[in-house]
């Protein structure tokens, strides 16, 4: 089936098999390998991307479901060489060790901060329940998101 999607501002049209998962379309067809495959069972969130602005697990969507949609992956967050505030937060607060969960963690945080610009620590922890990190114990991930929230609120 033919699909047309806009990924990080670029429009693509491809003929895909209906069973092709969105994550495989992004990684294997578009070569956007920043989106990771972790558990492949809808639990770990490593494959999270934004579908029309909302965080979704791209291992649990067929590419055909995204036909006509705007998708943002981790590769599409930085603007003109400037990291997105959430990316900067992970850098500044050491929000990663191995980095495997990081792209998904960041995409979830981007969606979350759009809807809750001034979250409590508890709200941040609830928001990232669908993203598993086996290295950090989440402390610095929470700090990274707090850093980003502050930076985005101050508008700098």
């Amino acid at each position: 089936m033919q699909i047309t999607v806009t990924v990080n501002g670029v429009t693509y049209t491809h003929d895909v098999e209906p069973r092709l998962l969105l994550v495989h379309y992004l990684r294997d067809v578009l070569n956007l390998t920043g989106t990771h495959i972790g558990c492949d069972t809808s639990q770990c969130g490593a494959c999270t991307v934004l579908l029309n602005g909302k965080a979704v697990k791209s291992c649990t969507l067929f590419a055909v479901q995204a036909d006509g949609a705007e998708i943002t992956t981790i590769e599409g967050l930085a603007r003109d060489g400037q990291l997105h505030p959430v990316q900067e937060g992970f850098w500044e607060k050491h929000g990663l060790q191995c980095g495997y969960c990081t792209p998904g963690m960041i995409m979830t945080a981007v969606d979350f901060l759009q809807r809750n610009p001034n979250p409590t620590e508890e709200e941040i922890r609830h928001a990232i329940e669908g993203n598993l990190c086996r290295c950090t114990g989440y402390q610095n991930i929470v700090r990274a998101i707090q850093y980003a929230a502050e930076k985005m609120r101050s508008g700098s």
């Binding site: 069973r19 809808s42 999270t48 965080a55 969507l61 479901q65 979830t108 329940e129 669908g130």
Partner: protein
């Protein structure tokens, strides 16, 4: 993981989806896909065709229908959570949805998908039972309305016929002095309900229980109402002692699931405890 091959259809209307269902008896309806696609990837389900109903306009949305609130079957959890109308009139829905899956799952999952799938550990079945919802289904022979009490039939089994589509869920607006609450003991790994209890309590002007409905999920093969608890409370002053006594009945006459995480005996205990918590919170809220 790849599922088996299938033909993908995108329905533009309910009528088109019904026609496709008749032509493809082995097909599955796809809405949010967050139960179906994981099952297909594990090859627990291998439908020959998927009929995507997520873009059928008349199936999605929340509307105020006078004395009822009507939610389309493919309305996503996130849209229900964000609805000011739902938050004000049916606050138990956002309360329960907030503990379903995770943020990403709530962005995709749909109310009708969850109800039609009838996972024994899903949260919303208990809530629609407690709210006394009605579920509307459309089939080749027309439309019918199924009360929530008759909808959940067995493990992953509902009153829906294979050629029917769940189109909307209609909730009566609760009267004044009504409080509601969903309380859940979540599996720490999956987040699914080991036991979840929903209670909707209406108090009379005298402060006594005028009406009460209790639904329980997770405990047994399918979600059930607990009429024995309700009958014990109606007409009573909802004191802590009265709620405690009624909640003790919650596990009577039920079949309990038993698995590696929780034995049947433990689930029976949790049922009594969480029915009590849901009733207690609902009464607090009814008092305002």
């Amino acid at each position: 993981m790849y599922p088996s091959t299938f033909t993908y259809y995108r329905a533009g209307s309910v009528q088109e989806a019904l026609k496709l269902l008749v032509e493809n008896p082995d097909a599955k309806l796809l809405a949010g896909g967050h139960s179906l696609i994981p099952a297909m990837k594990l090859r627990l389900a291998s439908p020959s065709a998927l009929i995507d109903i997520s873009r059928v306009p008349e199936l999605a949305g929340i509307r105020d229908a006078g004395d009822r609130i009507v939610i389309g079957a493919t309305t996503r959890y996130d849209d229900i959570q964000r609805s000011e109308l739902v938050r004000q009139v049916l606050p138990i829905l956002p309360e329960a949805i907030d503990v379903i899956g995770d943020l990403q799952v709530r962005n995709m999952g749909t109310i009708g998908g969850s109800l039609a799938h009838a996972d024994p550990a899903a949260d919303l079945p208990a809530v629609v039972l407690a709210l006394g919802a009605e579920l509307k289904a459309v089939g080749p022979d027309g439309e019918r309305t199924i009360p929530a009490d008759q909808f959940f039939v067995d493990l992953f089994t509902t009153a829906l016929q294979p050629n029917e589509i769940l189109t909307e869920i209609s909730f009566p607006k609760p009267p004044a002095r009504t409080g509601m609450s969903y309380q859940k003991f979540a599996n720490p790994a999956s987040g699914y309900a080991v036991v979840g209890a929903a209670a909707v309590v209406t108090l009379g002007e005298d402060g006594k229980v005028a009406a009460v409905r209790v639904g329980v999920t997770g405990a047994g093969p399918y979600a059930v109402r607990r009429q024995n608890v309700e009958q014990a409370l109606v007409g009573q002053e909802p004191t802590a002692a009265a709620i405690e006594a009624a909640s003790q009945l919650a596990s009577e006459g039920m079949t309990f699931n038993s698995d590696i995480f929780a034995s049947d005996e433990y689930r029976a205990h949790l049922t009594r405890v969480f029915v009590k918590r849901a009733l207690t919170r609902a009464v607090e809220r009814a008092r305002g």
